[in-house]
Amino acid sequence: MTAPEQNLITASELTAADLQQTLGYLFDHQLDFADLYFQSSVHESWVLEDGLVKDGSFNIERGVGVRAISGEKTGFAYADTISAAALKQAATAARGIAAQGQSGSVKAFSKSSNSNIYLPCEPLQSLTNTDKVALLHQIEAYIRTLDNRAEQVMVSISGVYEEILVAATDGTYASDIRPLVRLNCSVLLQQGDRRERGNAGGGGRTDYSYFYELVDGTPRWQHYAREAIRQAQVNLTAIDAPAGTMPVVLGSGWPGVLLHEAVGHGLEGDFNRKGSSTFSGRIGEQVASKLCTIVDDGTLAHRRGSLNIDDEGVPSQHNVLIENGILKGYIQDKHNAMLMGVAPTGNGRRESFANLPMPRMTNTYMLAGQSDPAEIIASVKKGIYAPNFGGGQVDITSGKFVFSASEAYLIENGKITAPIKGATLIGMGPEAMQQVSMVGNDLALDAGVGVCGKQGQSVPVGVGQPTLKLDAITVGGTQH
């Protein structure tokens, strides 16, 4: 028996046979599909500010979601305790979606063994509370040695231990243990009247020992600390950003948020089933320059966006979305895949038992190209270089997307010159992707801080890309 089976089912005085029976009860009504999603999670965070660990928090969630599907219709109910009575009550509410009809037959559960994209560790127990607090103090002390202009330092760590189990009428019976940790450093530097903030951090599906691992000879947390300081220092000397349409070179790694917004959301199966995306009905068409091959891959070891199985029990996959500029496929959950007559792609995700699953990205990135990053910069006469971004947003129907640079520089005559203030970049997905004229050989993934929001549900994701050049995109600065 797996730990989730023990903790979610057996400990709730339920058995696999009870789940079979509940699914059978749902299937009494004429349904195409039904599933039960059991989840339990504990989340902690510790925050240091002004040299004090002012607060820590601990959150417990546990419950079951019941979904019943008939054609395009979905009935959904959930309970925030796991018991036979709660399960029955939720099932009764959810199945109301379909009229009484003939009974279907629930497939026998087939248990599959999980892949080990990440290991079932318990991050909260991987460090004593004393050591968590000591780590925060150590990081702050280190940051203050880096720049005496540090006016404000905030450091936080958080850890999640989550167990899920999903049982469905198609015979799915799968479980997963999902650890997740994150560390963040935020620094405010002051010089004269000017104040600027720098942020950096990272994490993944592992435990807190990740932050102590040596990277180029120093512990990983020191890299975050130095990066936060560096970004604040750069911004202290930034001049106003230009306004208008110009060539933009995006750095490797986190600027892959471009792909998440310009491409990824528009390829989600629900929008394409409804025909509401700018990419709808365009499989096989050239939607990006030939230099672009873009994948969504939930199988990368320990990445924040990775999953052994998705929230419908489908194993994660390496899905090619765009190959040499040609649109190859959408990302799917079971419901939309069923309605579109294709296979699910392991992208059915939900924020918790209290939300319905939807097609969502995992780790979305562009494969490396041929160009030397230095050569890409050298090719720009007048433009900007943006190696760091905040968030983004997209309107999947018109394809218009934005993402905001948090660190950027002017490029003048092939050379990076002055740092400029953050500015929002705006474009139209397929048009912007056609503007990709050079792709670097330096593919990098982000450090593990991404959160994607869709219809009010947040899930952890990853992005990545090599350095790349967009020949023309609109830059929302203030100087013209």
Binding site: F58, T74, G75, T397, G476, T478
Partner: protein, 448 residues
């Protein structure tokens, strides 16, 4: 008022009992002080698409949050599982954390004198019960009205109705134990329009405490359709400096940035462009903003804040002068003030306005950009730097000429707030900031 009224008050009494037990448990564990809040909501959400049901969701959520103190050390924990065992475990988790946090001289509960011991009834609870079938029919009628409005409406992202009712209880070791019920009903419709290669989507919505106060779903459908077709064949405009109008429905975001910048947390962290500005002119002299937390049936009304502190009328901006920061107990102590009752956010901001409607504002502007949509998070509260994606309409000779998209608007919030030259009388009442459209005399637009 309603026959259901006794039931909800009985439920509030039960929850008060649970909160009292949680606080007693904290005391047993050695906590010197503690506060806890518990909420419960239940509801129904229905969505249709092309008149057919897409989803029916039954919501039932609950949560408990506790903070406790061993002297000046704080620990917090929360749970969505309200079983007695889970509540006990949550209190123990908070106590465990408080053993490791630092002594913080500013930590602690609100002063007893700040607390609301007998909250006024703000008339926020209208648990009108709408059946699933009624909700489906409403959604379908809205979509139908949208399709009938214009033949360029070719697709629907769906119409949705949601109704929720719930309660909130707060208690602390000062002996405060208060609670109130509330309800919220909303309806929205999102449709897609096409013209040639161009495809656009837009929406409209209505929200109220009382079901009968919602606008007609058919009207919402028509509005969604009109908003959508108006955006078709939008153009980019040239990069230039022009006046900009933020239409009422998105103008509230401007005041949202102001809220962040004057919140006590941003101020004591020096993470705001408005540090040390109380008593100074930060907005155009014509602007006054009054907060009225006790407006009957209003969406952001609340008799007390997240820490049990009394809420009361407050002039936040008087003739453009900032009169106060917005504080919680902690940020107030850091700043040497009393709490202004803003743990959990603001309560009904009323922005003063002139007597021009949106069309008259366009005429006053003459030539510029009317913004109806903003995208992205390009706002830096530390510096005030502002750069966001925008869509809307080009205005020339005081009249709307054509739709605009794929541009950005940029500036600095310090200047933007000072450069508000008019606020329209087209007040949007669907959120916590009640404002009309806002005319800013100049911003940088980036386009082609």
């Amino acid at each position: 008022m309603q026959v259901t009224q006794p039931t909800i008050w009985q439920e509030i009494d039960e929850v008060k009992q649970a909160v009292a037990e949680v606080l007693a448990h904290a005391k047993q564990l050695g906590a010197s002080t503690a506060e806890a809040s518990m909420s419960r909501t239940k509801g129904l959400s229905v969505e249709t698409r092309h008149g057919e049901v897409e989803t029916v969701e039954f919501n039932q959520d609950g949560g408990l949050g506790i903070s406790l103190y061993f002297g000046q050390r704080k620990g917090s924990a929360s749970t969505a599982d309200l079983s007695p065992q889970a509540l006990r475990r949550t209190v123990e988790a908070a106590a465990d954390i408080a053993r490791y946090t630092s002594e913080d001289p500013h930590a602690g509960l609100a002063d007893a004198s700040w607390l609301e011991m007998s909250p006024p009834d703000l008339d926020l609870f209208y648990p009108d019960s709408i059946s699933t079938d009624e909700a489906i029919a409403l959604c379908a009628s809205s979509e139908e009205a949208a399709f009938a409005t214009d033949k360029r409406i070719t697709n629907s992202e769906g119409a949705s109705f949601s109704t929720h009712q719930g309660l909130k209880v707060y208690g602390n070791s000062h002996g405060q134990l208060v609670g109130y019920p509330s309800s919220r009903h909303s309806f929205s419709c999102v449709v897609i329009g096409e013209d040639g290669d161009d495809m656009q989507r837009d929406y409209s919505f209505t929200v109220a405490r009382q079901y009968s106060q919602l606008l007609d779903p058919k009207q919402i459908g028509r509005e969604a359709a009109l908003e959508t077709v108006a955006r078709l064949n939008a153009r980019k405009i040239a990069t230039q400096k022009v006046p900009v109008i933020f239409r009422a429905d998105i103008a509230s975001s401007l005041f949202g940035h102001l809220v962040s910048a004057i919140s006590g947390g941003s101020i004591y962290r020096k993470s705001s462009f408005l540090v040390d500005k109380v008593g100074q002119q930060i907005m155009a002299p014509g602007i006054t903003i009054v907060e009225q937390p006790h407006l009957k049936q209003a969406l952001a009304s609340s008799p007390f804040d997240g820490e049990g502190v009394k809420t009361h009328d407050l002039a936040v901006i008087e003739q453009g002068v900032l009169t106060t920061y917005l504080t919680t107990t902690y940020s107030a102590r850091k700043l040497g003030m009393a709490s202004t009752g803003h743990a959990g956010g603001i309560h009904n901001w009323l922005v003063s306005h002139g007597d021009e409607d949106l069309l008259q504002l366009c005429r006053s502007m003459g030539k510029g950009l009317l913004v109806t949509e903003l995208m992205g998070q390009g706002v830096n509260t530390v510096t005030g730097d502002y750069s966001r994606g925008a869509a809307g309409f080009w205005v020339e000779n005081g009249e709307i000429q054509f739709p605009v998209s794929e541009v950005t608007i940029a500036g600095n919030l310090k200047d933007m707030l000072m450069n508000i030259s008019a606020v329209g009388n087209d007040v949007d009442r669907r959120g916590g900031v009640l404002t009309g459209s806002v005319l800013i005399s100049q911003m940088q637009v980036a386009g082609s």
